[in-house]
């Protein structure tokens, strides 16, 4: 358990260090994600183990545990709303329309672009969808 958690922290630490040192626009934890992914890919290539087997490993168990409770981790930042009650009083309606409107538009546009390009790729490859 501890070993898995340490591996996650070290990847994040390396990511933060890279991001700061090179002034990259990519946030540290995202670089950490890339680093861990690359290590896993390398491990898979060398050992030839099944991809599903990673769930049995230390880092697999810790990661699955964190991701199963991902929603919890956003609660402290969300509670920050208590600091902005005055602003919500003044601009709450406008902000709500912005958030809801933009979220709906972006969801629809993104999913349609994804599907259109996926269909085009499938068509180009001459594959019939099952």
């Amino acid at each position: 358990m501890v070993r898995g958690f340490v591996l996650l922290l070290l990847c994040q630490l390396a990511g933060e260090a890279f991001s700061r040192a090179l002034a990259l626009p990519v946030p540290g934890p995202v670089l950490g994600l890339v680093l861990l992914f690359a290590s896993l890919q390398l491990y898979q290539r060398v050992s030839g183990t099944d991809r599903a087997a990673v769930g049995e490993s230390d880092v697999g168990r810790v990661s699955d545990g964190l991701l199963q409770n991902l929603a919890l981790l956003f609660v402290p930042a969300g509670v920050g709303v208590v600091q902005h009650l005055k602003l919500i009083e003044d601009h709450g309606l406008a902000i709500a329309v912005v958030l809801i409107g933009s979220t709906a538009i972006t969801l629809i546009v993104t999913v349609l672009v994804f599907l259109a390009v996926a269909r085009w790729v499938d068509g180009a490859a001459g594959e019939a969808k099952p």
């Binding site: 996650l8 540290g28 600091q83």
Partner: protein, 237 residues
């Protein structure tokens, strides 16, 4: 009278109390969400935030005091982002087949999120600091706060707008995609991750593991894309 008061004074200054309350509120919220069979409206983050925020207001507790305890939970956002490498690794063969649709959806989706946000906000005549705070609202919290600061926004306000956007997208995505008759869970997951970062990803994982994987990827990619293009769009406005 004084004994319970003294106890409160002691407890309210240790991180233990608000850390425990955050976890308990989430357990209760998650139980409610299960009870409604994961109805999107019963979003666990939303319910837990309402519980805790109400309690803070009733007890007149400062957010800083609260965060002193809750920071231990908040801290785990970093390692949890790194942990997204696991589902990515597991589903890599599927992800690789969808690289082109993902690239296209990222570019168009990221720009759409920014333009639609700024356009609607401008139409309402919202002041510029709120505009800058709103711009990175689809990006995962820590990164969005950094972008907001860079644009001249208010990072603490951005954090709240980011969580709100996450909740709205997580509530909206299932009914919307079902109404559009979209059954491609890679596409559904990618869209909700792009719009609603980790909260959308949490929702996506509770529906389908492929959706969760693509959602996590979209969240990571959009953090980078928005950091690159938000300054350009805000200059144009």
């Amino acid at each position: 009278m004084t004994a319970p008061f003294n106890l409160w004074v002691y407890l309210s200054t240790t991180p233990l109390l608000w850390l425990s309350i955050t976890l308990l509120a989430f357990l209760a919220a998650d139980a409610l969400s299960r009870l409604t069979n994961r109805n999107p409206l019963a979003n666990p983050v939303l319910i837990a935030v309402i519980f805790v925020a109400t309690l803070l207001m009733l007890t007149g507790t400062d957010y800083k005091v609260y965060f002193n305890g809750a920071q231990f939970v908040h801290f785990l956002l970093g390692p949890a982002t790194v942990a997204l490498a696991l589902p990515l690794y597991r589903n890599w063969p599927l992800v690789r087949r969808n690289l082109l649709p993902m690239a296209a959806a990222l570019l168009v989706g990221s720009a759409t999120a920014l333009v639609s946000t700024l356009a609607i906000a401008l139409a309402f005549g919202l002041p510029r600091d709120i505009l800058a705070s709103l711009a990175p609202k689809s990006v995962t919290a820590a990164v969005a706060m950094a972008i907001s600061e860079q644009l001249g926004g208010v990072p603490a306000l951005t954090a709240v707008l980011v969580i709100s956007t996450g909740i709205i997208g997580a509530v909206m995505v299932t009914p919307l995609m079902n109404a559009m008759r979209i059954r491609n869970f890679a596409a559904r997951g990618f869209a909700v991750g792009l719009v609603s970062h980790g909260i959308g990803t949490a929702r996506a994982f509770s529906v389908d593991s492929v959706a969760g994987t693509f959602s996590g990827i979209a969240m990571g990619l959009n953090a980078v894309a928005t950091a690159l293009i938000a300054p350009i769009f805000l200059l144009l406005m």
